[in-house]
Symmetry: C2
Subunit: 169 residues, 2 copies
Amino acid sequence: MSLPDLTFDVIDRRILAALQDDATLSMNEIAARVGLSATPCWRRIQKLEEAGIITKRVALLHGPSIAAGVSVFVSVRTNQHTDEWLKRFAEVVSAMPEVVEFYRLSGDIDYLLKVVVPDIAAYDAFYKKLVSKIDLSDVSSSFAMEEIKYTTALPLDYMKVDKRPATSV
Amino acid sequence: MSLPDLTFDVIDRRILAALQDDATLSMNEIAARVGLSATPCWRRIQKLEEAGIITKRVALLHGPSIAAGVSVFVSVRTNQHTDEWLKRFAEVVSAMPEVVEFYRLSGDIDYLLKVVVPDIAAYDAFYKKLVSKIDLSDVSSSFAMEEIKYTTALPLDYMKVDKRPATSV
DNA sequence: GGTGAAACGACCAGATT
DNA sequence: AATCTGGTCGTTTCACC
């Protein structure tokens, strides 16, 4: 789903950058940071939310502290390709809380899952649960030995920015 | 980095669940939801932040609207394994804003990157930039055709929970 | 753990540049 | 469009029970 094509200016981009990094900033802090006063800044943020550009605000947790410190990437290949099977597969997998990301891919791997568990034993249990629920022809797992980078901040560098006297959003 | 082992009770878990899902909830809303009044609830959240369990609060954006709608998974195999090379690799890749996740893996693939770009052409440019910066023996890319699930919410199901008196409802 | 209250920030309206 | 001012309302935060 792609939304109505909007145009942004530099200020909008700065606002998004700030909020992507820290959603606890007060209106005054954001306003100061982007070079605006509080009110127009607030209005812009309202619009960005209404337009669905800002989708939600969430707290991020430290995995290891809550027994969710091990990430596993699961590659799935299948020979089943009916709509029926696919629908069920998507539902079953999406419902599992350990699965934090789930994509259909191009290339020789059909699906990729990112799974978060406390340890290898728990992954084994997860794996068994998974394969018991659906028929998968080929599943292969890789453990993340090290998380070198993880960010929820999308690159804003590709945003088309209107140089205009700010008729934005 | 794993933090001092704390014990949680059911209330803490509920608080984390709420905040993982929606960080805009007011103290009163959270308090009501977890069965507590605002102040003790606020104190718990303070502690969870101080302890580093809650790491940050961020806004999530709608990728397609900001020209960041295409995810690519990049598998890297290398024969270089010196600390020197590795350090440089980690630095160079981490500094690229298109790279939103970056792991060292077990198994036959050494590194996995999740890269976000606006389109295939931009990925091609990214790829060229990447390989120009560091020597990589084997790089293979898969495009996400469909994002079936993406959540920043870690599973709380594995948290060890103290059944202690701890609470009144 | 709870209560009450002061301090603060969000939100909105009106007037102005 | 942006800014400023003012005022209300809800929230956060803290001293105290």
